[in-house]
């Protein structure tokens, strides 16, 4: 046992040595017109060596470490929730309280906080949408951000070319994203697991590269700017109204404040999230929702029951995509500027991380995870260079201590005889 660990430790330390030497130990710097290879400073070497020592020791004594860490209590957030029967009784009140809280809250906090909350709500929408595809139907989609991009660009283009308003574009964006989901669904029907992941990853990249290079339509890497903000029944939130229009503060007879716009966007986001939650909850109760889960569990059994897997998979893809289209349309309206930069692979990865972190298939978990994933980076602003490092660390810790997610979707495992 010890011997085996020793070999593993030497191996891991060797890999660390190679990686750190290449990434930190040698650097190319340009001096004038020449490139020169510069070695690390002695302080950096000390860091590298101590890192290698840590890897070596942790591998050598990993049995002791995991024995010691087993003693650390694992958090069970499910226990914090009241029992199922109590939950059912409290549910309507709880929902009402949360909605009222969400509606009142922005008037009491800073503009930055409301803005951050709006961003969080976008990620909640995206997480809920991907949760249908990955969590419920069990289809690993790594290119989800493509549908988000399609939603965003649909609004941006329709608004800047045809002057269509946000409210008209919202359903159009969702529909168009759903169409793309449907189209992507066809070729990938026969694929599963890792093969599906690769194709969806490719799809995500195709959309991004297309947006980046179709300069005449999308503006390429420069993106589209000056996208109209949503209006409230034709009232906009600018300081001065456009020709023949009234602004919100003039109509209400109050002084102009830029925070109205932020709060208004936030309230739209709240409404959209409530709408998405409502629709998905309905779908999950309908036979199609159960069929998604059944397909995830056992495809052959599904077919033996006469279910058409084509229809089930396509519907999951389509509904998931339309949610992303929704979120994308709102995102474009909120930012006022979009470019392909906003729809890179890392966004897909973050959304997937939200679903996995939340506990696959659990809506409440997804919401919780979306909040954690958007708010934590804000608190860690000072370490922004280390953001990806912290992100990775969080993932490793999660997989170590709570592989089933923060709040896995709940079903009684056992029931006592009555």
């Amino acid at each position: 046992m010890m011997r085996q660990n020793f070999y593993a430790a030497v191996f891991a330390a060797g890999i660390t040595l190679i990686l750190t030497c290449l990434m930190v130990g040698v650097k190319l710097t340009s001096e004038g017109t020449e490139l020169r290879v510069v070695g690390a400073t002695s302080a950096q070497w000390a860091w590298i060596l101590s890192g290698i020592a840590i890897v070596f020791l942790s591998q050598l004594f990993r049995d002791h470490i995991s024995a010691a860490s087993a003693g650390i209590p694992r958090p069970d957030f499910g226990k914090l929730l009241p029992a199922v029967s109590v939950q059912a009784r409290l549910k309507p009140w709880l929902i009402a309280a949360v909605i009222v809280g969400l509606a009142v809250w922005p008037f009491m906090v800073s503009r930055g906080a409301v803005d951050l909350a709006t961003l969080t709500l976008i990620y909640i929408m995206l997480g809920l949408g991907l949760n249908i595809v990955v969590g419920l139907a069990g289809l690993l989609d790594l290119g989800y951000v493509a549908f988000y991009a399609i939603g965003a660009y649909t609004y941006a283009l329709l608004s800047s070319y045809f002057g269509l308003s946000f409210w008209i574009c919202l359903p159009i964006s969702a529909l168009l994203a759903a169409t793309f989901g449907f189209v992507l669904g066809f070729p990938v029907l026969r694929l599963r697991g890792d093969y599906l992941a690769i194709v969806t990853l490719g799809f995500g990249e195709i959309i991004r590269i297309l947006l980046n290079n179709w300069t005449s339509l999308t503006g390429g890497p420069n993106g589209i700017s000056g996208i109209d903000k949503p209006t409230l029944f034709g009232l906009d939130f600018n300081r001065r109204a456009a020709e023949g229009q009234t602004t919100f503060h003039e109509f209400m007879g109050i002084d102009y404040s830029s925070s109205y716009k932020v709060i208004f966007l936030y309230l739209i986001a709240v409404l959209l999230v409530i709408w998405v939650l409502f629709v998905i909850n309905r779908l999950m109760r309908m036979p199609i929702g159960r069929a998604w889960e059944a397909l995830r569990e056992d495809e052959i059994a599904c077919r033996s029951l006469g279910l058409n897997r084509t229809v089930i998979k396509l519907s999951a893809f389509t509904f998931g995509a339309s949610t992303a289209g929704f979120a994308g349309c709102f995102f474009a309206a909120r930012q006022g500027f979009i470019s392909p930069e906003s729809f890179v692979f890392i966004e897909s990865a973050i959304i997937l991380a939200i679903v996995v972190l939340g506990g696959m298939g659990s809506q409440f978990g997804v919401i919780l995870a979306a909040i954690v994933m958007t708010i934590l980076p804000e608190f860690a602003r000072e370490f922004s260079e280390y953001r990806m490092l912290l992100f990775g660390l969080l993932m490793v810790l999660m997989m170590r201590w709570r592989p089933q997610g923060l709040l896995p979707s709940k079903r009684p495992h056992m029931e006592l005889k009555r």
Binding site: E293, I300, C302, P412, M414
Partner: protein, 233 residues
């Protein structure tokens, strides 16, 4: 009720079934026995349309079902309990049963549910438990119950005794007889030849993808060759 006429089935270049003909009449229990790799499961799958037969014809209630997609075939009053049970492990017993009645109205679902729960009182006890946490025998009951939820006129059972304790196997076979008494036609694929032939009206023996013997259940039980090959002398 089910007529299989000269079916040939291939997996790529390999021929798994050679000119197989089987008939199951209404109200019968017909069993198909054979060793590992004889083609029993392939025949079952061919009936369900996956893989499709390369030649030959399968009729269910007079209608030709060869060439139709699986999802269509499985909605015609034909149900299968797949090999290895294949219950939806992370769904509850109730949700599993509900999936079985996917294409039926709520009223029909509730009516059939009562009947299935009467047949399997065990499932009532486990109603809101996850299927994956139950014992093998309970899962097999659930798999049969799920198939029954579509109110089929005929049910295909693929090795229902696989991996179960002898006492549970007894129960499962009793249930199969009970289903027949309720008017469901049964086509049973088994490796447990002794048990299967005892309850079967008729039986077929499959060897290397060919039907080598057929006859009534008792006749096959007494057959010298069958005794030697499948019943341990």
């Amino acid at each position: 009720m089910l007529q299989i006429n000269n079916i040939n089935t291939h997996y790529g270049p390999i021929q798994a079934l050679h000119d197989v003909s089987v008939e199951v009449k209404k109200g019968e229990i017909v069993t198909l026995i054979g060793a590992n790799g004889a083609g029993k499961t392939t025949l079952m799958m061919t009936i369900c349309g996956d893989p499709q037969a390369t030649s030959g014809e399968i009729r269910f209630d007079g209608e030709v079902i060869t060439g139709q997609p699986t999802a269509q075939i499985m909605r015609k009053g034909l149900a299968i309990v797949p090999e290895g049970r294949r219950v939806f492990a992370r769904l509850t017993v109730q949700e599993n049963l509900h999936m079985g009645a996917y294409f039926r109205t709520k009223a029909e679902y509730e009516e059939t549910l009562e009947q299935v729960l009467l047949l399997f009182p065990r499932l009532r006890e486990r109603f809101s438990q996850r299927a994956g946490t139950m014992s093998g025998g309970e899962q097999q009951m659930l798999a049969i119950g799920r198939a029954m939820m579509s109110r089929p006129r005929m049910i295909l059972l693929d090795e229902p005794s696989l991996g179960l304790a002898p006492i549970i196997i007894q129960q499962i076979f009793q249930i199969i007889e009970k289903l027949r008494d309720d008017g469901v036609t049964i086509f049973l694929v088994e490796q447990n030849a002794n048990q299967a032939l005892k309850i079967a009206d008729r039986g077929y023996v499959l060897e290397n993808g060919r039907v080598v013997l057929s006859g009534s259940g008792t006749a096959l039980l007494d057959d010298e060759n069958v005794r030697k090959a499948y019943l341990g002398g």
